[in-house]
C-alpha cells in the first residue's frame, strides 16, 4: 500500500528566520577555552622549526600544540576516511597554503589570536604544483612520498569495444572542457566544541556526518563506542563542506592538551582553506552516426584532489560512472583520475563529480547537433537512456525518466514560442542540459522509534538538518509510516548516544535511505501494535489500519484502539523498534579493469532549460528564464522539492557565471567574500520555476532531490549562449570577459 504524505512547511521555519534554532556556533560548554590555529603561508615546505615559547607565556594561554607534540598526547595524529593521509597538525611538512601547523588554546578568542601571532615557524620551501595535469608529469614534486605521480585515485571503464565504436562512427568530435576550483561557502563556518567529561570524549560539531566524525575520533583516541559522544545541531549550510571529518580531531586534541573544554570557530579565510570543489579537465571524444546516434565515447577526466585525499580516491570513480552522461552508448572508454596538488583539499560539493562532466558532455551534445543539423532537443531524445537499456557499467537501467524530464523543461522554456527579440546590442538564446548521477553506494541508515504510553513518538536518527528540511520531511514520513499524527512526533537532534548509525547526510540520500530505515522500523512497530491489539480487534474482516494514533480493522473503525491505550493495558511504558536500510554494490564491487558492475543503488536524474540574454559589448550574461526538473520517484513534500531544485539553480549560477578560486604562486588570492562572491537573492533569474517527475508505479523508490539540477545549469547556459551568438565557452566560469573575448575572436575570424 502506498502512503499519503501530508506536505507541511518546515516545522521550525519561524525559528529559523528569527535565529532561534539551536546551532553549533551558538553553543557553549561551561569553562571552555578557545582555539586559534596557526596556518602555513607557503604552499609546500619542510618545517625546520616551530618556536612556541613566546606564545606559551602570553596571557590566558593554556596550551600550545604542534604536529611534533601530538605524539606526546598519545593520539593517532593522522586521519582521513579513505586514505589515512591528513595530519591533525602538519608533521614535518606542509602541503598547501593555509594548512594547520600549530594551535593555541587560551581563555578568550582574542588572547588565543594574539598568542598565535607569536608562534614562529621556519619553513624550507619546496617546489609546488597547483595544477592536476602538471602534477601527473615526472617533473612534478611528489606531495606524499607513498603516492607516486601524485596519484589520488585512478579508475578505468571499458564498455563494448571502443575501436569498433570509432569504426561505426560517421563523424568524430573532440573537445576539452575545464572547471576551476570553487568553494561551498556555507553561511555558518566550521565550528566544533570538545570536552573530556569523565572518561567520555564529547564533541559538538557542525558536521554532515556525525558517524564519520565518530569513526575518525575512535581511531584518533583509541576509544570504545561508549566513551565517545558526537552531537550535531542545525547546520547553517553544508553542501559537502562539512562532510566526513574536518576540524574535529584538531579540536578534540586541543581539549586533551588544555585539559578543559574548548571551542573553535573558523574564520572565513580558514573555511576557504578547509575544503573546495575539484577543479577538472575533461577531454571528450565522441563518435556519432549522421542521424545523431552516439556510438562511441572516450572520456579522459583529471580532477584536482588538493593536498589530501578526503573523498577523491572514491570520487574519481564516481565521476567515471557519470562521465558519459544519461545516454545509451555501446562503446565507451573512460579514464578518470584525481591527483594531489599543493592546493586546498577538495571533496564533496553539491553536484559533486558530476557538474564538471555535465559541463562537457552537454555542451558537446549541442555542438554535435549543430554540426549535423539536428535540433538539440531531438538529438537528446534519440540518445537518452530508457528503462531496460544497458548502462556503461553494464547494469540494466530501471526507473528511468529522462524523456519526461527533457519534455518538462523544454516545454516550460520553449512553449512560449520564439524568444522575444533582444534589445539592441544584445542577443537571446535558449539551451537545455540533462544529467545522471549515482548516489553513495553501499550505504546504511538505521533508525530507532520509541512510542511512549502517552502516544508520543520519538524518532532517533542521525540525519542532519542543514536547511534542506530533512527533519520535517522525515517527520512526514514517520507520520505516514507509523500512523502517529505528526504533532505527536519528535525527531531530536543527532546524538550518537541516542541515534543509531547513519553513513552521512550527503549525496541526496537522507530522504531515500533514512526514510527507508524509518519505514522498516515502522513496520516492526505496527507488527507489535497489531499483536497487542488482537483482543480488541474482534473481527478479522478488512485490512488492518494504523491511523490517527489508533489501530483498527477497515470493516470496524468504531473498534479503533489508541496506541497509548494498548501500551498502558500491557503495562509497557514504551515500545522501541529499530529499522535498517542497507544498499549493496557500489564502486568497490566494480571490476577494476573494466568498471563493470552495479555502481549505484539507483540513479539520480535531472534537467534544466534556460533562456538568457547576453550583452554583446560587455559579454555579460543574464538568465531571464530558468526551469529545472528532477525525477523524485515519489514526492514527499512538493514545497521542499521545489526549494531544492531552485536552490540548486541559484547555487549553481555562481559556479556557472563567476565563482572561481584563484591561485597565484601557490597562494589562494581570493579567500574572502569580497573577492569571492556567491549569488544572492537579487541575482536569481527573473523567472525561476521547477517541477518534479513522479513514478506511476504503485510503490516507487523515493529519490533524493538535493542535487538534480545543479550540474545542468552551467551547460544549459553555455548552450543558450551558443544558440544566441554562436560562440562556445569551454572554461568555467562564463565571465563577461571570457564571453566578450570569444565574441571578438569570432568577429576577427569571420
Amino acid at each position: 500500500m502506498s502512503e499519503t504524505f501530508a506536505d507541511i512547511p518546515m516545522i521550525d521555519a519561524r525559528e529559523r528566520v528569527t535565529g532561534a534554532i539551536p546551532m553549533t556556533i551558538d553553543q557553549a560548554m561551561p569553562g571552555m577555552a578557545h582555539v586559534k590555529v596557526v596556518r602555513s603561508p607557503v604552499p609546500h615546505g619542510l618545517i625546520r622549526s616551530i618556536e612556541t615559547s613566546e606564545a606559551a607565556r602570553m596571557p590566558g594561554v593554556r596550551a600550545v600544540l604542534t604536529g611534533a607534540s601530538l605524539a606526546e598526547l598519545g593520539v593517532d595524529p593522522y586521519y582521513g576516511g579513505l586514505r589515512n593521509d591528513q595530519p591533525v597538525l602538519a608533521i614535518d611538512k606542509v602541503r598547501h597554503e593555509g594548512e594547520a601547523v600549530a594551535l593555541v588554546v587560551a581563555d578568550t578568542e582574542a588572547q588565543a589570536e594574539e598568542a598565535a601571532g607569536w608562534i614562529d615557524v621556519d619553513f624550507e620551501e619546496l617546489p609546488f604544483v597547483t595544477d592536476a595535469r602538471e602534477a601527473m608529469t615526472p617533473e612534478a614534486p611528489p606531495i606524499h612520498d607513498e603516492w607516486p605521480d601524485n596519484d589520488c585515485g585512478t579508475w578505468r571503464l571499458r564498455h563494448g569495444d571502443i575501436e569498433t565504436g570509432w569504426a561505426l562512427a560517421d563523424r568524430v568530435y573532440e573537445a576539452e572542457y575545464t572547471s576551476p576550483p570553487a568553494s561551498h561557502v556555507p553561511m555558518e563556518p566550521h565550528v566544533a566544541l570538545a570536552r573530556f567529561e569523565g572518561d567520555v570524549l564529547e564533541v559538538w560539531t557542525a558536521a554532515q556526518a556525525p558517524y564519520m566524525v565518530h569513526t575518525a575520533l575512535k581511531k584518533t583516541f583509541g576509544l570504545p563506542d561508549e566513551r565517545l559522544r558526537i552531537k550535531t545541531f542545525n547546520l547553517g549550510g553544508g553542501y559537502g563542506a562539512k562532510g566526513g571529518v574536518k576540524i574535529e580531531p584538531l579540536v578534540a586534541c586541543a581539549a586533551l592538551a588544555a585539559g578543559c573544554p574548548v571551542r573553535l570557530v573558523l574564520t572565513r579565510p580558514e573555511v576557504f582553506n578547509t575544503l573546495g570543489k575539484h577543479a577538472a579537465h575533461i577531454a571528450l571524444r565522441t563518435g556519432v552516426k549522421t542521424d545523431g546516434t552516439i556510438v562511441a565515447r572516450r572520456v579522459r577526466a583529471v580532477f584536482n584532489a588538493g593536498a589530501y585525499a578526503v573523498s577523491s580516491p572514491l570520487g574519481a570513480g564516481q565521476a567515471m560512472t557519470r562521465a558519459s552522461g544519461p545516454y545509451r552508448i555501446p562503446h565507451v572508454w573512460i579514464d578518470s583520475t584525481a591527483r594531489y596538488t599543493n592546493t586546498v583539499p577538495t571533496g564533496p560539493f553539491r553536484g559533486a563529480m558530476t557538474s564538471q562532466l555535465c559541463w562537457a558532455y552537454e555542451q558537446q551534445m549541442d555542438d554535435i547537433a549543430h554540426d549535423l543539423g539536428i535540433d538539440p532537443i531531438e538529438i537528446r531524445r534519440r540518445n537518452l537512456l530508457s528503462d531496460g537499456d544497458e548502462f556503461i557499467t553494464g547494469e540494466k537501467m530501471h526507473d528511468v525518466h529522462f524523456d519526461e524530464l527533457l519534455d518538462d523543461v523544454t516545454e516550460a522554456i520553449w512553449s512560449r514560442g520564439p524568444a522575444d527579440p533582444a534589445p539592441a546590442g544584445r542577443a537571446r538564446g535558449r539551451g537545455v542540459a540533462v544529467m545522471i548521477k549515482s548516489t553513495l553506494t553501499p550505504s546504511r541508515s538505521e533508525a530507532r522509534l520509541r512510542l511512549d504510553d502517552d502516544g508520543m513518538l520519538t524518532a532517533f536518527c542521525a540525519t542532519v538538518e542543514m536547511g534542506q528540511g530533512a527533519g520535517t520531511t522525515l517527520m512526514q514520513m514517520t507520520a505516514a509510516y507509523t500512523g502517529v499524527p505528526i504533532e505527536r512526533i519528535t525527531i531530536p537532534l543527532p546524538d550518537t548516544f541516542q541515534a543509531p548509525f547513519d553513513t552521512t547526510t550527503a549525496s541526496s540520500r537522507a530522504t531515500f535511505s533514512m526514510g527507508a530505515a524509518i519505514k522498516d522500523a515502522a513496520r516492526k512497530l505496527k507488527d507489535e501494535l497489531a499483536g497487542l491489539a488482537e483482543e480488541h480487534l474482534t473481527t478479522t474482516a478488512g485490512e488492518l489500519r494504523f491511523e490517527g494514533g489508533t489501530v483498527f480493522r477497515a470493516a470496524a473503525p468504531e473498534r479503533a484502539v489508541s496506541y497509548a491505550d494498548l501500551l498502558r493495558e500491557a503495562e509497557l511504558p514504551a515500545l522501541e523498534v529499530e529499522g535498517v536500510f542497507q544498499s549493496e554494490g557500489g564502486m568497490a564491487t566494480l571490476d577494476p579493469e573494466t568498471g563493470q558492475g552495479q555502481a549505484s543503488v539507483h540513479w539520480h536524474e535531472g534537467a534544466v532549460a534556460v533562456e538568457i540574454e547576453v550583452d554583446l559589448q560587455t559579454g555579460k550574461i543574464e538568465v531571464l528564464n530558468c526551469h529545472g526538473a528532477c525525477y523524485a520517484g515519489r514526492v514527499i513534500s512538493p514545497t521542499r522539492v521545489r526549494q531544492q531544485n531552485e536552490g540548486n539553480i541559484i547555487f549553481g549560477l555562481g559556479q556557472a557565471l563567476f565563482e572561481e578560486l584563484v591561485y597565484d604562486s601557490g597562494q589562494l588570492v581570493n579567500p574572502n567574500l569580497s573577492d569571492y562572491m556567491i549569488p544572492s537573492i537579487l541575482d536569481i533569474p527573473k523567472r525561476l520555476t521547477s517541477s518534479a517527475v513522479e513514478s506511476l508505479e504503485p510503490d516507487p523508490d523515493v529519490h533524493g532531490v538535493g542535487e538534480m539540477t545543479i550540474p545542468c545549469i552551467a551547460p544549459a547556459i553555455g548552450n543558450a549562449l551558443f544558440a544566441a551568438t554562436g560562440v562556445r565557452i569551454h572554461d568555467l566560469p562564463m565571465t563577461p570577459e571570457r564571453v566578450l573575448r570569444a565574441l571578438r575572436a569570432r568577429e576577427e575570424a569571420s
Binding site: 555579460k620 563567476f658 584563484v662 562572491m677 549569488p679 544572492s680 537579487l682 565571465t735 563577461p736
Partner: protein
Amino acid sequence: MFPSRFEYVAPRSLEEALSTLAGRGDEAKVLAGGQSLIPLLKLRFASPALIVDLNRVPGLSYLEESDGHLRIGALARNRDVVASQTLEAGYPTIAAAAPLVSDPIVRNLGTVAGSLAHADPAGDWGSVMLALGAEVTVRSASGDRTIPVADFLVDTFTTSLEPTEVITEIRVPKPEGSSGGTYLKLERKVGDFATVAVAVQLALDDGRIGRAGIALTAVGPKNIQAIDAERSLAGAEPTPESFQEAARLAADAASPISDVRGSADYKRAVVRTFVQRGLDRALELARAS
C-alpha cells in the same frame, strides 16, 4: 579578526565633534554609516585610537534642493537617495547610481558623504559627483571651506580632508537647460564593487553640447575624470562620431589593473562601451527634457 582597541565617543552636536577632532584629529576616524570603516577596523587595515561617531548629531540627514543645488547632508543614507522621488527628473545620474550602490543592507546604513570620504577608487559616488561637478563642504572648529570633488579626491583612500574636519554637505549644481545623464555599472553580481562603472552627464546648448561630465569607477587609483573626453565634447555636435571619439579618449584616460574582476584590457574595453552607451542615453534624456 578583532579590531584593535579604540576609544569611542558619540557627540551630540557638530561643535562637540569638531572640538574633539581639533584636539585629537590625527588619531581619530569619523564614523557615519560605517560600511567601509568597520571592515577596515576588523581587518586591522585601520587602527585609530579614537572613533568619533556622528550618528547622534542632529540635522545632517537631509537631501534637499535649494539655491540651485541639490544638498546632501553628511548623514544622508544611500537608502534615502534611492527612495527620493525628486531626483529622477533633475538628477538622473544620481537616480541611476543610487540603486546600484552595493546591496540593500549596505545602502540602509552607508552614506554618500562617507563613500566620498573613504575615496575608494571603486566607489560609485566619486564618479557621479565628478561628472556632475559637485562640491564638498567641510567644517572644522575654525570654519567652513568648500572643495570641488575633483580636488577633494586626491588618491586611493586619500582626500584633501584635514584630520580636524568633517564633511557637512555635498553640493550638486542643478544641471541647467536640456540635460541628461546616467550611471552604468558592470558588476559580477549584485552587491559587488564595480568591475567598471561610468558616470556621464550631458547638457545641450542650442542643439550643441554644452557642458559634458564623464567620470570612471574602478579603473585607476581614484575615480577618474575623463577630462580630454569631456573637452572633446564641449561645443561639439552630439553625433555618433563625436561620442565615439569621446569614448576612445575616456578609455585612454583609464588606467585599470588586472584582478579577479577582469583584465586591464577588458576593463578598458568596457569603459569605451559604457561611455558611448552613457552618452547615447544622456542625449536621449536631454532631448526629452
